[in-house]
Symmetry: C2
Subunit: 616 residues, 2 copies
């Protein structure tokens, strides 16, 4: 429902175009195929489809018409896929002919058609579609076109028969191609397939979806099905750019700036790679064979929305470097004891984090490289996060791998996070680094795990503590300012307990009546009791405490699970009992503990706010 | 120093290309200008310059040579700027000729050259450069070229003289153009300027910088100077695409996929819009007049790095929607009292925040539209943040404005933040919304201020409290669970104080020995005492407290300033005195207060961590 709002507002714009150009009645309906003259010359429809699958339409957008020459680029894609570029180029060149749409334009010496967008080149292209007879060829073409359109298309048999019985010029071309061996077998089945291909029925929306599939790198934006291999998409768009609008191609590129193809039935299809396709249907043609209103509408939309493909905006650093910081500022969710925090405050700058975003291509990955290399003084670890990266092209992979090599040569460990779904990148990564370098190049699920890994190495290197250490209650951060006799007195309120790995120590919803001090082992704070979930809120180890809510607001329920992450030993404070002892000494000790808890919370709050400031 | 690392690694790649193609000695140095034959045919240089101004080079990149035909697109840009598109098109068409580089290719009826990249078109273009005589024309051309290159270029007078004295064919062309009135005055000064224009000396680096200026929308990537208006850049690149490589343009687009221009002295310049330019210099030419090694190197680099301009990657939501949330999750830095927090917990979903990033164009702003419209149920305010937006093109402006109108029609207030430096966007915004709609469309410096504005409206609407209210100490959040007699007892530790607007209440570095409870007015917590700084850490008003560090850790120094943001009245707790009273009742009350402080810190910590989880 909500999407209707904007749809209607953009469709209002498209409707206003119908209105603006309604009286544009210059030109004539194509008459070289008798069947085409039967159309209502006033038909007028516009469709725009984005690579996100958003469809905008106005006018007679569902009237069907035969696709005619707009079939050519799509069949060219089939020929490329089935034969490879070299084989196709040997039969059809890719130069604009500089001549009108109905010129034959064969190369003097070889008889090779100048490009696949003129009839001669298109017939040769249809010859390259698999199939010994017309029926199989047509089925192969239809199968592909159905993927491009997202549903089953049909052939207008009247138009097909009309084209077949009156297509003398195309027949002549086919025999000229046979004569020069561009067609190396009987041209009749090829011609028959060509006439049928031109007679496939589409509407404006179909055309726009077919174009949007090219704009979307060959994948249909709604069905998600691939119609043509990515490597051939730019080739198809290239011939549309140089020759798609016949001898108007240069002016079209200059004025409209999108790869395009027109057909004599009055369709025009324009593709803005990576963004959208625009289809217009209006049967009256100019003397170059292009739809008069089609051209006018495309020019107007391109101009109103600045859609010229060569009118690009330069990338900026902010679009690719989402955040850059080090571990003095941002830490893993492994809560550290005070002395460990001090160590990480000193050494955290050895761990750098760079969060990337958007599209990684030549220039943006070049920006990443400069940024990283300007920030590696005294660095041992670089965490590079790909969570918000939407695409990584070939150039970017190449440049990033050079960067990784440079870093590893400097003895810096490179930790890549959130790289899943970056398929080509990972494939290449596997090829390049599966061998000797892999020790210095690591992958982690997310920044938090990568940070924890690096922190653990730094803490192991700089301190004697191992994770399995026992930290007695008097060495707990919350008791460091207690005198020995105070500790002794306090111990009567404490009990001890042991937990096995994966045992649930606190459940969500429990009464908050106890506070825990970890003597040995490690626990995980999490919103679910799912053992394998990586979405923990915190990790705590010996010398830390949890459950302080018991003291602050004991009526409240627990808001998370605390689960033993190893064998765990805890000292447990039952706050109810502590509270019952209404004497001065107990109150002084309790006040001391609560003040220490406040201080811990204050420090954590400061750190959280620092990170927030940094990240926003 | 650090940038050298990657430079050398990318330049290693470029050097390997020199090596790969060193033995490619096919072709001949141009001989139609005698002076050109004197060059060493083995010269070989490569330069790449990105729109960020990064320069990569290899080989004889500083050897100078005359620019020849590569001058044509740049002079065409001058002609467009000085005459407008219509006037220029009347004199020179933009269709590929389909013919060889030395063909004359004039239109049959009008005598108009087919495009500005062939000699006939280029001479006509030079005719359109301002200047009645050759000297002024050349100065105008040099002035522009100097901006493109970023330094002063010179003319090789030997080559100029050689061209001038042997350029019979070009002289013939000029007189044919004069005959058909394409040149409407004496062709000799124009020819003379043309010969000089072709004799401008450049090196490979200069060419790449000139190309990078086009790639960067007409602005030199290092000097930041504009060489050509943005609106003409896509036009220049269009003629380079359709005709820049003579009758090899179609194949070049198919294989390399970048607007390009070659010259007979052996230079090739290719431009990837929005990203980079690539220049190769090697004098041996093929029979189409293009540098043999130049073509080979461009093909190889385009293929290795996937630089074909039609090989784009589709955008994704993650590249444009940085964050989306509402005010139940993220709040302004105005600390609210418990009852206000409750109100905002209930009503915060009426305030939506959407943070945009990257390049806003047709498709990406279409994604923004869908996202916003799918999130407006029960919404009164939408804050749209542009902090991380790197560019907004015409299409995006158009689509965003439609979105704003749709929202305002639904009675939703639209708050735009961080729009500074988005010049065209703001200009258009001013034009569209300066009138009746402005009440529903607002601009704020940042998200925080916009959030505070919306929160204040919601709190005014739903509660009776005004900002000027007096909140007695017993109604302060930290004393709500104190009994009346407890409050009375506690009051003896409190003093009151008044502050004028802008008075400093706490200075950074002060001893933390007092805690403050605001009775009336509002204070700002900030890292600087600069009154006008917007970078405050928090705003606090009546009923809130600050300086709790005094109780938690009184030995510490204050870490920020607290400044009166209005007339302010506070109750002040001197913690030293409270501590001295070593009796049970005082300890119990202190414990109650400290527990309440802990709870406040705990709640703030939870909120901060929730926001952190949300934003990362």
């Amino acid at each position: 429902m909500k999407t209707d709002l904007i749809t209607s507002s953009f469709e209002n714009y498209l409707n206003s175009l119908l209105n603006d150009f309604e009286d544009l009645k210059i030109g004539d309906v194509a008459d070289y195929i008798p069947e085409l003259t039967k159309v209502d010359p006033d038909f007028f429809g516009i469709s725009i489809v984005t690579v996100e699958g958003q469809v905008y339409q106005a006018g007679d957008r569902l009237n069907e018409f035969t696709i005619q020459s707009i079939s050519k680029p799509f069949v060219y894609g089939i020929a490329l896929e089935e034969n490879g570029i070299d084989q196709v180029i040997r039969k059809v060149d890719v130069e604009p002919s500089g001549e009108a749409f109905n010129e034959i334009s064969l190369e003097d010496d070889t008889g090779r058609p100048r490009n696949p967008m003129i009839n001669a080149g298109a017939i040769a292209t249809t010859g390259l579609v698999p199939g010994m007879n017309s029926k199989i060829k047509v089925q192969n073409i239809l199968d592909k076109f159905n993927i491009y359109a997202g549903h089953s298309l049909e052939i207008d048999t009247e138009v097909y028969k009309s084209e077949s019985s009156t297509g003398h010029r195309n027949r002549a071309i086919a025999y000229l191609l046979r004569n020069s061996n561009i067609l190396d077998r009987d041209p009749e089945p090829i011609l028959d397939a060509y006439f049928q291909q031109c007679s496939i029925l589409v509407n404006c929306r179909d055309l726009a979806l077919m174009g949007a599939t090219l704009a979307n790198n060959g994948v249909h934006p709604i069905t998600g099905m691939r119609a043509v291999k990515e490597e051939y998409v730019s080739k198809v768009l290239s011939v549309m750019t140089s020759s798609g609008m016949y001898d108007y191609s240069g002016a079209w590129l200059f004025e409209v700036g999108m790869p395009a193809k027109s057909g004599v039935s009055g369709g025009v299809l324009a593709v803005l790679p990576g963004q959208l396709a625009l289809a217009v249907y209006s049967p009256r043609l100019d003397h170059k064979g292009n739809s008069v209103r089609g051209l006018a509408v495309c020019k107007k939309i391109s101009n109103d929305f600045g859609l010229h493909m060569l009118r690009t905006t330069a990338v900026s650093e902010s679009s690719v470097i989402r955040n850059i910081y080090d571990a003095t500022k941002v830490r893993s969710k492994h809560f550290r004891r005070r002395e460990e925090i001090k160590e990480l405050d000193n050494k955290g700058s050895e761990i750098k984090v760079i969060e990337l975003s958007g599209e990684l291509r030549f220039t943006t990955s070049d920006i990443v490289t400069s940024n990283v290399l300007n920030n590696i003084a005294d660095t041992r670890f670089i965490i590079i996060d790909f969570a918000k990266v939407s695409s990584i092209d070939k150039a970017a992979i190449n440049i990033l791998f050079q960067l990784f090599n440079t870093l590893m040569l400097k003895n810096i460990t490179v930790l890549l996070t959130k790289t899943e779904n970056k398929f080509n990148f990972l494939k290449q990564l596997k090829l390049e680094y599966d061998n000797e370098n892999s020790g210095k190049l690591k992958r982690f699920a997310n920044i938090d795990e990568a940070l924890e890994y690096c922190e653990n190495i730094i803490l192991d290197s700089y301190s004697d503590k191992s994770a399995q250490n026992i930290i007695a209650i008097e060495d707990n951060d919350l008791f460091t300012d207690f005198e020995a006799d105070e500790i002794e007195m306090f111990k009567k309120y404490l009990t001890t307990a042991s937990y096995k790995k994966d045992e649930i120590i606190i459940s969500k919803g429990d009464n908050a009546d106890k506070m825990y001090f970890i003597i040995s082992g490690q626990v995980k704070v999490s919103l679910t009791k799912n053992k394998t979930s990586d979405k923990h809120l915190a990790i705590l180890s010996a010398g830390s405490s949890f459950g302080e809510l018991a003291i602050i607001e004991k009526r409240k329920d627990r808001s998370a699970y605390v689960i033993a992450d190893s064998e765990v030993q805890c000292a447990i404070l039952n706050f109810n009992e502590l509270e019952k002892d209404n004497n001065l000494t107990t109150k002084v000790l309790t006040l001391k503990l609560v003040s220490n808890i406040s201080r811990m919370l204050f420090e954590r709050l400061n750190r959280s706010n620092e990170i927030l400031n940094l990240l926003s």
